[in-house]
């Protein structure tokens, strides 16, 4: 079994398959369908024993670094806060093969959009290295 991180993004990545409006401009029924699909994905992964974790992130981002001796930490929201890559959340799955990880990612990407058609959203698939510290 190998663990993969499936990352969803608010922005960044390859050019979108097609443009779509922000979700608060969708038909309310399309919003419901989209959210129901994501809930179904989590249930499916959980039921198959493949789900390790699923989390969403707020779009608020702060970069921080050590400020030096006797100095406060230095923070910024980035060199290009409006265009830089921004992670929205992830699934952490434990699966038999890389093919299965890609299959799950493609399924997530088929989530219904504002018109009920698949969003074709790009999903960033990253393999977790063995031997790192893990607590549970």
């Amino acid at each position: 079994m190998t663990k993969y991180l499936l990352l969803k993004h608010y922005r960044g990545g390859p050019d979108p398959h097609h443009p779509f409006p922000p979700m608060d401009e969708w038909d309310p029924a399309a919003v419901d369908a989209h959210m129901a699909f994501l809930g179904h994905v989590t249930d499916m992964l959980d039921e198959r024993g493949e789900l390790v974790g699923v989390q969403a992130l707020t779009p608020d981002r702060t970069w921080v670094r050590y400020g030096g001796p006797d100095a406060a930490p230095v923070t910024t929201d980035g060199p290009h806060p409006e265009t830089s890559d921004l992670i929205a959340g992830w699934y952490l799955v434990d699966v038999d093969s890389r093919e299965r990880a890609l299959e799950i990612a493609a399924y997530v990407s088929s989530e219904p959009g504002h018109d009920g058609e698949p969003l074709y959203e790009w999903i960033d698939v990253r393999q977790i290295m063995d031997g790192g510290t893990s607590r549970g």
Partner: protein, 411 residues
């Protein structure tokens, strides 16, 4: 690891009607037994570990052979565990001076044990996260696994947090008075942590607050319990069949828990009855009074917003500089102003809070609410969409996005 103490008592208990016990009565004994061990001079951390082991033994043994005196049974078994722990520690070659130390038995106290233990677990030296974890383990009797699940962290993380907290309170005398305000704050934090997985911290907080009011006459303690009950009463209507959040004004009030509302109203009335101009009611009593007015309204349209606004005036008067010290209360007050004096008046109040709360999703949600109240549906949708972007809870974010989408399609 299996769940050691489930939500319901072992089914075999019904075979022993002469010796009724269940998980609730078992856990109710924890403060007394633990306080007894501490009065005998045992250290907090080892005594608490020994009692946890005794509780596991009890759940194994009691369904078959219920004890005549559960408290004495737990004390005996926990003491045996303490002796075992000392022996194995001594066998490892560690010097163990406590073996010889047999502290004199202190006076036996009952109702106050809960309060003294809460003071210990809510020691101001501990962080709020540690205070909550230690309280849930040492006073409420939850397992480390249950507490970890409630806070959505790995069990190893929670075990470490609890053992570190126990080491920090080690040596603190049990009879040392504590800060009741900190205890109330910790119980409130436990309550708002809510329900996750199999663990429901709302009912645990209510159970702890019930134990607390047996040990203190402080009106704020009753105010806190009342506030919890009056909010908890509405939880059955808070989610719809799909698990979506239903806001207060759209909830099916027939689903509200009438018994909890009745009890909460009686509690807040009894607390307010002993208050005076010299000793005005505190935050929890005021928040309970506001919750009671919502719970008492037969429909959202019949809410007594005039009285609610008066209570919000009292709430914001508790601090010298509410715009900096308590903007959340001003936000609630602005919504009440919108209902009493009209949406434009409420929106003016909200505008004053933008500099201090403009990065907070609740400010945008209140702006959306008042805009919708005033008939500005596009403005309300924009505000709800902004609130969704700032929300920190997935269910709340989804609700805000849905509401924005509904308002856009309606306008």
């Amino acid at each position: 690891m299996t769940e050691r103490r489930g939500r319901s008592a072992p089914s075999t208990r019904s075979e022993h009607p002469a010796h009724p016990w269940d998980e609730r009565t078992l856990r109710g004994l924890i403060p007394r037994v633990l306080a007894g061990l501490l009065r005998r001079g045992e250290e907090f951390d080892v005594a608490e570990d020994a009692l946890q082991e005794a509780l596991v033994d009890a759940l194994r043994a009691w369904p078959e052979r219920p004890p005549r005196n559960p408290e004495a049974w737990l004390t005996t078994v926990a003491t045996r565990r303490l002796v075992d722990a000392r022996r194995s520690a001594a066998a490892r070659g560690r010097r163990e001076e406590a073996v010889a130390t047999e502290a004199p038995a202190g006076p036996t106290e009952n109702g106050d044990d809960t309060l003294l233990l809460l003071f210990c677990c809510c020691s101001p030296d501990l962080s709020p996260a540690s205070q909550m974890a230690l309280t849930l383990r040492a006073v409420a009797g939850l397992t480390t696994q249950e507490i970890a699940e409630a806070f959505a962290v790995p069990e190893a993380t929670m075990a470490q947090r609890i053992s570190r907290a126990k080491r920090q309170v080690r040596g603190r005398p049990l009879n040392q008075p504590g800060d009741l305000a900190v205890v109330l704050r910790v119980l409130e934090l436990v309550y708002v942590t809510g329900h996750r997985g199999r663990v429901d911290l709302t009912t645990e907080a209510i159970r702890l607050a019930r134990q607390l009011i047996l040990a203190t006459d402080e009106p704020e303690a009753r105010g806190l319990l009342a506030m919890m009950l009056l909010n908890h009463a509405r939880l059955p209507a808070r989610l719809d069949a799909h698990g979506h959040i239903v806001p207060l004004d759209r909830q099916d009030r027939s689903l509200w828990n009438v018994a909890e509302i009745t009890e909460g109203i009686a509690l807040v009335q009894s607390a307010l009855a002993v208050q005076s101009n010299e000793r005005p009611p505190g935050r929890y009593q005021i928040e309970a009074a506001i919750a009671a007015l919502h719970d008492d309204a037969p429909s959202a349209d019949e809410t007594d917003w005039i009285q609610i606004l008066e209570w919000y005036d009292s709430l914001v008067a508790l601090t010298d500089d509410p715009i900096r010290q308590d903007p959340a209360s001003l936000l609630g007050r602005a919504v009440a102003v919108g209902h009493v004096d009209g949406a434009p008046a409420g929106l003016r109040e909200i505008g004053n809070l933008r500099t201090v709360m403009g990065r907070h999703h609740r400010w945008h949600a209140a702006l959306g609410y008042l805009s919708e109240l005033g008939g500005d549906l596009p403005g309300a949708a924009d505000a709800y969409a902004a609130a969704a972007r700032l929300a920190i809870d997935v269910a709340e974010r989804d609700h805000l996005v849905r509401h924005a989408a509904r308002l856009r399609s309606a306008s």
